[in-house]
Symmetry: C2
DNA sequence: ATTAGTATTCGACATATTTCGAACTTTAGA
DNA sequence: TCTAAAGTTCGAAATATGTCGAATACTAAT
């Protein structure tokens, strides 16, 4: 498109990445701490290895790898080899950026009144 | 997938809808008020007709219609015929829900310290 | 009733996405 | 060095998506 700046382009890429149920689940695993069964450490972002992220999802390793690549390419997650494994995590700035997209400060006075489940 | 609840399913649908640059632009037009050239009314959500939303985007009417249908099916926008036109708008609750998804209250103490562009 | 404006539906086509298995790479340990 | 563990890359197949034009539907005005 002509009227799409690079910023919006990346945003669309991120949303596209989150638009797949498998990838959304992966993203949630990385962003939600303090859930049953997980340890929550406020001093550190949540890190999971590729293998851990795929647990319970019945997809082939190659498919999992593909999805993580998409998440990374869109800018949603970071990855780095740690010995035999590859660790994944979310840069908190990404969460802020995305939350900010939906949080319209102008409309907020109105929206504050209505509760949302 | 087995471990995807209906809530997450709809969330994924919404993100998928926003993952297309044309649809993202439409969504932004509906969610951003107080931009140059627009009137901002805090007492009312922004409404645009289908035709207005398509202005400047070089896509066929049928394509525009298709995109709006996707946005509506995913739950992102509301639509209602108003005479000859069809008006579109965003339920503010939707914005809250989506912002809330990225806004992890537990991690917020941390994230609050780092500024994000 | 006809017409013009606004938007949707349908069918078709090109492209993109999801997924897998097989083969490969990288690392740690025996 | 050989092996096992953990991921990735590649190629192929099935499915989904984005796009258009032509035909259709709905509304307001003549």
């Amino acid at each position: 498109m002509s009227n799409t700046n690079p910023d919006d382009k990346q945003l669309a890429e991120m949303f596209k990445a989150l638009g797949n149920p498998h990838r959304l689940l992966i993203f949630q695993r990385l962003s939600n701490c303090c859930l049953p069964g997980t340890r929550c450490d406020l001093e550190q972002t949540m890190r999971f290895s590729v293998g851990q992220l795929g647990e319970g999802m019945e997809i082939a390793p190659s498919t999992l790898s593909h999805h993580l690549k998409e998440l990374h390419r869109s800018g949603l997650i970071e990855m780095s080899r740690q010995g035999k494994r590859v660790d994944c995590w979310i840069d908190p700035a990404v969460l802020n950026r995305l939350a900010g997209f939906f949080y319209n400060p102008i409309e907020n006075r109105l929206r504050g009144d209505r509760d949302v489940g």
